[in-house]
């Protein structure tokens, strides 16, 4: 059972705006999360400097632009979670995966260094799959 935390803001948008700065402030840019990430080699960043990459991570999380290599790394996050355990500031409250998640959102919406993935067919396709398979009763009760 996951006991949910008490609300800290009045919307997820407001929470993420607060959390980005807070998590970035906890981050020491030591590079441990980058070194633990299984996607680093996949995006050709095996020789990148972990400290400078995580310095860029902090910048992205507060809405500033960062080196394209950092943006490429953040953009390749697949939520493997290896960064969470690797982070030496975890005990201080730093959730590295959440920091990277927020950095990715900011790189899309603030520094605009990552393209927005817009798929207008996302919900319509799901609805068609539902209508192909669910009974009228299931459609009414579940959706």
């Amino acid at each position: 059972m996951t006991k949910l935390t008490a609300a800290r803001a009045n919307s997820t948008e407001a929470y993420l705006a607060e959390a980005g700065g807070e998590l970035a402030a906890l981050c020491t840019a030591c590079g441990a999360c980058f070194s633990a990430c299984p996607m680093v080699a996949r995006v050709g960043l095996g020789r990148a400097d972990p400290k400078s990459m995580t310095e860029g991570l902090r910048r992205l999380a507060v809405g500033q632009s960062a080196h394209p290599d950092t943006v490429a790394w953040v953009g390749a996050c697949t939520k493997s979670g290896q960064c969470v355990e690797a982070c030496p500031e975890r005990s201080a409250g730093l959730d590295a995966m959440l920091l990277i998640r927020i950095a990715k959102q900011r790189a899309i919406n603030h520094s605009r260094q990552l393209p927005a993935k817009q798929d207008p067919t996302y919900f319509p396709r799901i609805k068609i799959f539902a209508r192909l398979q669910l009974s009228d009763e299931e459609l009414a009760k579940w959706l």
Binding site: T12, Y15, L16, K79, L134
Partner: protein, 288 residues
């Protein structure tokens, strides 16, 4: 079906709607474990995780979903929301709840069923004579020890031999799709491991992985099954899997297509069903 027991909400997410039979089996497993289940999912219960490019819209979706679960908790006593999708689970835990007052807690279906395994064991009466390689990802373990939970549950099935597959990056296959080459390589590694370990079944844990492997069902004499399907089989329930059959070249019957709107089916669904397996992009030596 009305069932007496602890009331819960089963939040199956959006993309599970491709797999209606797996939703029904999940509800059945929860009911047999002693819960009174109300299922909820689809766009009206979206967590917002797939809408990072629309922060305001994602925030509104999250608020709507939390308020619906709050209402179920307050009016029907459904203070536990049971997740299926790891994206929904993590998004609720890490982002939705800190931004919205939640009157409920969450748990993953594998955790709840594991807790009540003693109720299910007497119902696992049909030996499932398979050697199953479990397709795994390393993500989501930050929130739920998913691989261990699924292996624990499957180990209760008489006759079933288990092999732990390679632990891949990401929390499920859909996370890898945006990184060039990552998904085909992952499918290739799992399939190669299944062949090398003489498995006759690849067992998926999540829906998005099942989506990718369905097209491979039967190749190299290896079947593709989700973990809930194997548990159901041990209960004597042979569940169909429409999505798997469609991915292998089948199609819904015409009445279902007409009900879903034929033009939308052809425009939105058929291209997905006819998409080649990622294995074809990864391992030419493994295909014909």
């Amino acid at each position: 079906m009305a069932v007496e027991g602890e009331p819960i909400t089963f939040w199956f997410g959006c993309n599970m709607l491709r797999h209606a039979e797996m939703i029904r089996i999940s509800i059945l497993l929860l009911e047999r474990a002693g819960y009174d289940v109300r299922a909820a999912g689809g766009p009206a219960y979206c967590c917002g995780t797939a809408h990072d490019h629309q922060p305001r819209g994602a925030s509104n979706m999250a608020a709507r979903t939390v308020s619906r679960f709050n209402a179920a908790a307050e009016k029907e006593g459904r203070g536990t929301v049971v997740t299926w999708c790891p994206s929904c689970h993590m998004h609720m835990s890490d982002i939705m709840a800190p931004g919205n007052a939640a009157a409920f807690d969450i748990t993953h279906i594998t955790e709840l069923i594991t807790q009540r395994a003693h109720r299910l064991v007497p119902q696992l009466i049909v030996p499932v004579r398979r050697r199953a390689l479990v397709h795994r990802h390393m993500g989501f373990a930050t929130h739920v020890p998913i691989n261990e939970r699924v292996m624990d549950l499957l180990s209760l099935i008489p006759g079933l031999e288990l092999v732990a597959g390679p632990a891949h990056p990401g929390h499920m296959c859909s996370a890898l799709a945006a990184v060039p080459g990552a998904l085909p390589d992952t499918v290739h590694e799992t399939w190669t491991a299944a062949v090398a370990n003489r498995a006759d079944t690849v067992c998926t844990i999540f829906h998005s992985c099942h989506r990718e492997y369905s097209a491979l069902d039967g190749r190299d004499r290896i079947s593709v099954r989700n973990w809930v399907q194997l548990v159901a089989q041990a209960m004597g329930i042979e569940a169909s899997d429409a999505y798997r059959e469609w991915r292998k070249g089948g199609a819904p019957d015409i009445a279902a297509i007409e009900r879903a709107e034929q033009s939308k089916y052809h425009a939105l669904v058929e291209p997905e069903l006819r998409k080649p397996s990622p294995l074809l992009a990864a391992a030419p030596k493994l295909v014909e």
